[in-house]
Symmetry: C2
Subunit: 210 residues, 2 copies
């Protein structure tokens, strides 16, 4: 086990602080070994019972991508129509996905009842399986950010429709649809803060104690 | 936005590779500012709509801790009784939690419908709220590992009972119960691999393509 220096820990803190949900991408693709390396790194994530339930699907087919974009547009229009007044105006101004420009689309699915791990640790909390896949996505995101590569997590989609579009095993659960590529602009304040949608909660000075 | 060097990226890869679910702890507590700093770092995690739904509860009361340990023992005995033969023998040999020795217990809960974020991004996939809390836990885990501090995620518990024991808002969802402290021994092969329970899947050479 390596020892991590104070310099490394400071940079790790910077990485957490500067990781962004990227929605503006350059169109040039990543070198194939780079994307491949990031996907392998994601597989180092923790998983309950060492079950490694994640399944990564690279979506390259232009027809499938167009279908995903339409589904996003449909779901986003519905989300807008549920809002009114200033709230709706603000929502309409947000750029919520980089599906058009991102050179890579990666769907992340999760096996809900993996044989691997033999059920250990999930008896009373079966959701820990899906949560393992969430940590694989987060691992991918951090490794990408450290390499100057942007990731945007699109959740304004209908997971069942997306699974059908991708023609994957219907037993799998869709956890995320990721846009991946070089960011078109340097990271700054998160889009949602910049456009006045939401800000971080004031730093907590006290934790709940029991 | 800082640039991250190849050296940093290599160390980050080491961090992913060496992060462990720690189950053997020394009993000496962390300096208070260290634990506090790790919890603040956890709050830098991504969250859907910037909703920051995580709630950290430090469990110090010896009676509550004892109750949690009993619940683990009960759930673990049941998990063992569901197994037979070699499987049961192997399960019985595993050390699955460090609840007795870990100087700190941290329960992590999640607000299922936070006002913050105003519902953005979770309309079609409401689970993204809980998943944000999972990424906060993973952030905590990585920051701790980089600081030489061990974290063990206990999931063999009944989440509803634990919430009652902790007397927290019943609307919150229990996501994890963490043991935190200095590891009693250096990280090596994961316990589940070392004891022949499960191994990592052979490295995937191909990703699903669509």
């Amino acid at each position: 086990m390596p020892e991590f220096s104070p310099v490394f820990r400071e940079q790790l803190h910077d990485l957490f602080r500067w990781r962004r949900d990227v929605r503006h991408f350059r169109r040039d693709p990543l070198p194939e070994p780079v994307l491949d390396g990031l996907l392998r790194t994601a597989c180092l994530a923790p998983s309950v019972g060492l079950s490694e339930p994640w399944r990564f699907v690279r979506v390259d087919d232009p027809h499938r991508r167009a279908a995903v974009r339409s589904d996003f547009a449909r779901c986003n229009a519905r989300a807008l129509s549920d809002r009114a007044g200033v709230d709706a105006q603000r929502y309409a101004r947000l750029k919520l996905a980089g599906l058009d420009d991102a050179p890579h689309h990666v769907a992340v699915l999760s096996h809900p009842e993996p044989a691997q791990g033999r059920g250990l640790g999930r008896g009373t909390m079966p959701q820990t399986t899906t949560w393992s896949t969430v940590m694989a996505i987060h691992t991918f995101w951090l490794a990408a950010t450290a390499a100057g590569i942007g990731v945007g997590w699109v959740s304004i989609i209908d997971p069942e429709r997306i699974k059908a579009m991708l023609d994957v095993d219907p037993a799998l659960e869709l956890v995320a649809y990721l846009c991946v590529g070089y960011p078109a602009r340097p990271a700054s304040t998160p889009e949602l803060e910049r456009r006045g949608w939401e800000r971080r909660a004031p730093e907590r000075r006290e934790w709940i104690r029991r």
